[in-house]
């Protein structure tokens, strides 16, 4: 499954979550530093949220 984190593609196994995508993209530490993850419609998403093919996540 291909996901985009801050427009960078990452490959994730089925069943993995937003947290795994952020680990893979090396940005989970930004969440620890109080940044948040959002979907492409500007909705905040939780770290345990399920992923969808082609999903776009932004950390800011």
């Amino acid at each position: 499954m291909k996901i985009y984190v801050n427009d960078k593609p990452v490959d994730i196994m089925p069943g993995m979550t937003v947290k795994h995508a952020l680990i893979s993209a090396g940005v989970l530490k930004q969440i620890e530093a109080s940044k948040k993850a959002y979907d492409e419609w500007e909705n905040e998403i939780g770290l345990d949220g399920a992923l969808s093919e082609g999903m776009k996540i932004y950390v800011r």
């Binding site: 089925p14 069943g15 795994h20 419609w41 345990d48 399920a50």
Partner: protein, 519 residues
């Protein structure tokens, strides 16, 4: 007199007009009806308030959420709905296989829930038991083979007939252990909802889809199926602050873990939504009151949690070393990696030492001892790596030995030698698997945890293998891809370890010289 008569006639006209207006207004208000939809999703057993990663404040708490539900219910005729994934994810739920959550939901008088993929994590028999305990319908219109699930429920609230159709993710077999979904079919949510939307088009005032398919798929559902008035969603843990509108469909979702409660107020006239206003109520322990009935359930299970955590798992004849796991092989590292390898059937297991947080003293082992050793909610994954990739992973593992970082590997099924004084990237000297030197081009199955598989602690080898893997599918009851050979996201490693020790009763693991340091 004339003027008086004229005034009298005018007065009569005004009074008559006012009466007509009042009659019209009373007629109009008799047709307009209100209903409030309260909703929750992806609770995952987070009954207690907690401080999420990166947050400075405590959020959630089911007793506060229940009190808010009570207050909102008093204002308007309401429905309380759940969009799934309620029963698994937190020790408070997992230790009781979701029974504690169903008791909470019964106490709060939920009206309906859709089954989430993680509701299957304890197996179908446990799920059937939980469904039978629930005093509200649990829906799954697109699940074939589990007859106890209902496809829909019709609720009449304030004279409004609401058809609630439940659909869950087609990915359930790959987002729980596939054995939990064995014999079941997960049909297309879109086709399923389409069928019921046609059926209820003329018999319901409102068609509401209670969905556990994720926000992105909810939007597609709204685009592709006509006639859906509202989608109350879950699965993607999305915080939809203001209701989204896609076509003529309202989409809402209430984040996760009971940190917010969703509120959607509807005004209905002649089967049409005339007005819809929605928001999320923040749930925090520093605002609002606790609901007493829910608090009683919470306290009952708090005591049970303490009791379960103190349960005896088995006994160790030796101290289990969790102190030195970031610099050397330890018997606790060997034990946990052996269990990981055995559970997955892999050739090799590699775990990060940093995932093992403390030691266990010789003597009795209790549940909470294992939970302290493995505090993270990691699960086992096994991936095919080439000998070259295994070497790369181990080389990375010993690349920060002087800093005692968490990446230092604990291993099973492999013996390796390394020199901490050598240049970073050239420290690994010899690697042996099954008594033979590692073959660079040969593929081996390697078990690890989901954290390393995703690239945690800087391990890239697993992610690179996943990237190279072709499509994933279920083969022989297990999710497999070209490189993926095992994944059990519904069962934590700590629980696998507890099960192993329970079966063995007494353990006495010794280090075996799997990791050898040379000058």
């Amino acid at each position: 007199m004339k003027s008086t008569n004229t005034l009298g006639t005018r007065s009569k006209v005004i009074i008559f007009s006012l009466l007509l207006l009042l009659l019209f207004l009373s007629f109009a208000s008799a047709e307009e009806r209100e209903v409030r939809i309260l909703y929750l999703n992806d609770f995952h057993g987070f009954a207690e308030s907690y401080r999420p990663l990166g947050s400075k404040e405590m959020l959630g708490g089911i007793t506060y959420l229940a009190a808010k539900v009570n207050a909102l219910r008093k204002e308007k005729p309401s429905l309380l709905l759940s969009a799934g994934d309620m029963m698994q994810g937190n020790a408070w739920a997992n230790l009781f296989q979701g029974e504690s959550v169903i008791e909470l939901m019964n106490t709060m008088h939920f009206d309906a829930m859709v089954v989430g993929n993680h509701e299957f994590d304890f197996g179908q028999e446990v799920l059937k038991k939980r469904i039978s305990e629930a005093e509200f319908p649990i829906l799954g219109a697109n699940v074939e083979g589990l007859g106890i699930l209902k496809p829909y429920v019709i609720k009449e609230v304030n004279g409004i007939r609401i058809a609630i159709i439940g659909v869950t993710t087609e990915d359930t077999p790959v987002s729980t252990h596939p054995r939990n979904a064995s014999g079941l079919k997960f049909l297309s949510p879109i086709d399923t909802v389409n069928k019921y939307a046609v059926e209820f088009k003329n018999t319901a005032d409102i068609i509401l889809v209670l969905s556990h398919i994720g926000y992105q798929v909810d939007r597609t559902l709204a685009e592709q199926v006509e006639g859906i008035d509202i989608i109350v969603g879950g699965h993607s843990h999305t915080r939809v602050g203001n209701p989204s509108i896609v076509g003529k469909t309202i989409i809402v979702q209430a984040w996760e873990h009971g940190k917010v409660l969703g509120v959607l107020d509807l005004t209905i006239d002649d089967g049409k939504i005339m007005k819809a206003e929605g928001h999320l109520e923040e749930i925090r322990p520093d605002i609002g009151e606790e609901d007493r009935d829910t608090l009683a359930v919470l306290q009952k299970y708090r005591q049970k949690v303490d009791s379960v955590l103190s349960e005896r798992v088995g006994e160790t004849e030796l101290d289990l070393d969790g102190e030195n796991v970031r610099r050397a092989e330890t018997n606790l590292g060997d034990l946990i990696t052996d269990i990981t390898r055995q559970a997955s059937g892999a050739d090799v297991a590699i775990l990060n030492g940093g995932g093992i947080r403390t030691s266990i003293k010789k003597g009795e082992i209790r549940v909470k001892d294992v939970y302290s050793v493995l505090p993270f909610d990691n699960y086992i994954v096994a991936i095919k790596l080439t000998g070259r990739e295994i070497k790369e992973a181990l080389e990375h593992g010993v690349s920060a030995i002087e800093k005692e970082e968490g990446r230092f590997p604990q291993v099973s099924g492999v013996v390796f030698t390394y020199s901490p004084s050598a240049t970073i990237g050239s420290r690994l000297k010899e690697v042996i698997i099954s008594g033979k030197s590692l073959e660079p081009d040969k593929e081996y199955s390697v078990a690890t945890n989901d954290f390393l598989a995703a690239g945690g602690d800087g391990y890239r080898a697993f992610g690179d293998a996943i990237k190279a893997s072709k499509d994933f599918e279920i083969i022989g009851g297990m999710m497999k891809g070209e490189k993926l050979v095992y994944s059990d996201s519904g069962r934590w490693l700590k629980d696998v370890v507890i099960q192993y020790i329970k079966e063995k009763k007494t353990i006495a693991p010794k280090t075996e010289g799997r990791i050898k340091e040379i000058p």
